[in-house]
Amino acid sequence: MHQDIFTKYTPNDKSYLIPLLQDIQTIYGYLPEDALSEIAEFVGIPLSRVYGVATFYNQFRLAPLGENVVRVCRGTACHVKNSSNILYAIEQALNIKAGETTRDKKFTIEVVNCIGACSIAPVITVNEEYYGRIGVKDIPNIMKKYQSKPKVEAQKKTEIGTEKV
């Protein structure tokens, strides 16, 4: 299902490595192993180097995500407004730690450095939706909203088509 991605790029050009990884992740939500080896072959560098790049950047994941991705901002502004408590409360509510996915594959908690919405700190995003100026008390209600929701098609648009000039 990702074969047509390669048609957008010229082979053996190393600078396409990161855009390719980004495109693959847009499709699957993570980087499957066989896709990584295909990329390595296409770009013309060893798989170990591809793996090195994929693990260097925070954006890339080697394991699939849950249906709903809860991103907790841990930027400075959010930190001074007690985002550590918010994170703790979410971990309690979902019974997993940051970076993990629930066993029913419904939720993943991710910690991000800064969402760039510092003015409404503390902020979390669930899928693409922002929740700003929240307190620990709001967490159960927000989580409940997504508990029963059918699968949301998250982050499956745009992203493709920036690379060719």
Binding site: I18, G75, T76, V80, I120, T158
Partner: protein, 661 residues
């Protein structure tokens, strides 16, 4: 004519293949190639329409930057559309960027035909019906949520710039933000956009442009403050068949969002600045390296570049000048260190984003080994204004060594969070108390953190410090990219130092030893400070705790002196400035094992006040370690041995019966 691409009559011969070199001037002053009163009127009328001077139906602007959207701008838009449909009113809705007053989002502007544009703030879907009724049906002013008018002041409505938040600002970079439609190239041109680029192409040699920027005294706004003109001069002097220009939009500093706002609210300004830069150094290819965490900014940039290509302002033979310039977007993949220029270059080349030693500087050997100039978003945003108004005008603003203005992202414990642009030389006090409106809830100001993880925390004693590169360095902070996080008495400085070190430790690329190992050791030392007697397991731990402190200062200085890149060199700053200004707080943690701010969990004890507790049992159910006991209807108590000090009970209690000390 509906856009500047339409021809006024058959005599206009401008096309993409055969561009007219007077196209930009023609858009606002035209037609220039022939005289025809009718054509002139057509163009003027188009300008009036685009500038919102002439319109027959009301216009409603909604602030749709990320902050606006996060505050519910989409829901407000839906509510307004529904209300308009219900009342059968014909009005035009325009999305605009962020005006900077994020604390008061959602901001909605209304302009009736022939009247002034009036801004309203804090609009929520619930009050939309009343708002529409008052402004569009009764054609009056919705006083409750009034922010100000963009026209002339009257007794009823003061000008928006008389609001204390805007009054002390000087907007150059943010000039158009929140005013124009960020997705319309016509709006930007009608506002005088691309005039500078046009002037450069027709009247100036690359050397003249570089000299103009050099004379203006513009310095890099990304943090280090290297003179932009000097950078360009160096790249111009290089002989190479290919040179590159990169716009650094990898705004990784937690607590900074200036670049995001400018990219979202006025993207054409960045493109124009880059195109001028490309012409000045002789580059034909440009890259914008933007964080992937900013999806809206990326999608707006994509549209912007497409529009510029359609208008012949990017591409081959731009406006008949033989100058070629292409811009591509590269999405960052979330590594803080990629804000460093050599790491950024590595990332574009498809490698791990690791810095490399300088020299050679990128201006001599950068991307793919070719001369490369890298500037920050805000730096490029200044370029067009400097070319338009001249270097003398720009250098008249600011202090002796720092010229122009600086945009700060106010956040944290401050009343007016948002984006502000102040002339260099403004005091921190003015930014925090006059513009920022001081600390909310009657709390005491403690510190302001400037410059992100590389900067420092400045206390009240140095609040009179001027904002400029040198003064901030003198007091132990740095300009950084413009994060401005205010902290009040409830913030613990040891905890803040720990927070920044954790961040740096996570983001250290691992290439050089002082940064990789040094920050780890520093973090360990800091982590041992806020630890209670209970958690300190044995005498060795106890000894390590004090020994670490003795070496902390020395270690910090070694990291500073020997790290490879700016990230490592500035990593100890939050700790050093903390030790300099908040020594008593460190000592209190160290000797008395106490955290007055009530943040360091290990040093706190939670107790329940029997006289207040009603025994509702909410805390008991919320406690994850079953440390709270008690029967329903009777006062509960906390078993200290079990308590992990998570603070959930404190948050859950509705009677404020839980005490922390």
């Amino acid at each position: 004519m509906n856009s500047f691409l339409d021809k006024c009559c058959n005599e206009c011969w401008h096309s993409l293949e055969k561009p007219c070199d007077l196209f930009i001037r023609c858009c606002t002053e035209g037609p220039l190639c022939h005289h025809n009163a009718q054509c002139s009127e057509k163009i003027q009328s188009l300008n009036r329409r685009i500038n919102y001077v002439e319109h027959d139906i009301p216009i409603i602007w909604i602030g749709m930057g990320t902050c606006g959207l996060a505050a519910g701008a989409k829901k407000v838009e839906e509510a307004i559309l529904a209300e308009l449909k219900k009342l059968n009113i014909n009005a035009r809705i325009e999305a605009t960027g962020c005006i900077g007053f994020c604390a008061k989002e959602v901001i909605v502007d209304v302009k009736l035909p022939g009247q002034d544009r009036i801004s309203y703030c804090e609009i929520i879907p619930k009050i939309v019906p009343r708002f529409i009724q008052k402004t569009l049906v009764e054609k009056g002013i919705f006083k409750e949520k009034l922010l100000g008018t963009h026209g002339t002041s009257s007794n009823e409505t003061a000008h928006i710039n008389e609001n204390p938040f805007f009054k002390h600002q000087l907007k150059i970079v943010l000039e158009n933000c929140g005013i124009i439609n960020p997705e319309s190239i016509d709006a930007y041109i009608a506002k005088g956009g691309f005039k500078a680029f046009d002037k450069v192409l027709r009247l100036m040699k690359p050397q003249d442009v570089v000299k103009e920027i050099f004379d203006s005294g513009l310095r890099g706004r990304g943090g280090a403050g290297f003179p932009t003109g000097k950078k360009w001069e160096l790249a111009l002097a290089q002989k190479a068949e290919q040179k590159y220009l990169i716009c650094n939009a990898d705004e990784g500093d937690p607590g900074a969002f200036m670049d995001r706002s400018v990219l979202e609210s006025d993207p054409f300004r960045i493109i124009e600045g880059m195109a001028i830069g490309g012409y000045a150094i002789g580059a034909t290819a440009g890259y914008i390296y933007c964080r992937a965490e900013y999806p809206l900014a990326i999608s707006r940039l994509e549209k912007t570049i497409k529009l510029c290509e359609d208008y012949g302002l990017l591409g081959k033979n731009i406006l008949g000048s033989k100058f070629n310039f292409h811009i591509r977007i590269k999405k960052g993949a979330g590594a803080f260190v990629c804000g460093e220029e050599t790491a950024l270059i590595g990332s574009i080349e498809g490698k791990r984003g690791m810095p490399r030693p300088r020299p050679p500087f990128p201006s001599i050997s950068g991307l793919f080994g070719k001369p490369t100039v890298i500037n920050n978003v805000e730096t490029f945003a200044n370029v067009a204004s400097i070319v338009n108004r001249g270097s003398e005008w720009f250098s008249s603003i600011g202090t002796k060594t720092s010229k122009g203005t600086k945009v700060f992202a106010l956040s944290g414990k401050i009343t007016n969070t948002g984006l502000v642009e102040v002339p260099m030389g403004t005091s921190l006090e003015e930014v925090v108390f006059t513009i920022g409106g001081g600390i909310p809830d009657g709390k005491m100001f403690k510190a302001v953190q400037i410059g992100g993880p590389s900067g420092g925390c400045l206390p009240h004693s140095v609040i009179k410090t001027q904002v400029d590169y040198e003064s901030l360095k003198e007091v132990g902070a740095m300009m950084g990219s413009g994060g401005f996080v205010v902290m009040d008495e409830d913030t613990c400085m040891v905890d803040v130092a720990k927070f920044f070190l954790t961040f740096i430790q996570n983001e250290s690329c691992g290439k050089c030893v002082p940064c990789r190992e040094g920050t780890k050791r520093m973090l360990e030392i800091i982590e041992r400070i806020p630890v209670s007697y209970k958690t300190t397991k044995n005498k060795v731990d106890e000894l390590q705790r004090f020994k670490g402190i003795i070496y902390l200062n020395r270690l910090a200085n070694v990291i500073k002196d020997t790290s490879l890149c700016g990230l490592g060199q500035s990593a100890p700053n939050p700790v050093l400035s903390g030790l300099q200004y908040f020594r008593d707080e460190y000592e209190e943690h160290l000797y008395e094992r106490k955290c007055s701010a009530g943040v360091c969990k290990d040093l706190l004890t939670f107790t329940i006040d029997n006289s207040i507790c009603s025994g509702c049992g909410v805390c008991l159910r919320r406690c994850s370690v079953e440390a709270i006991l008690g029967e329903k209807g009777h006062a509960h108590y906390i078993v200290q041995d079990k308590c992990i000090k998570c603070g959930m009970c404190l948050e859950a209690c509705r009677f404020e019966a839980i005490e922390v000390n």
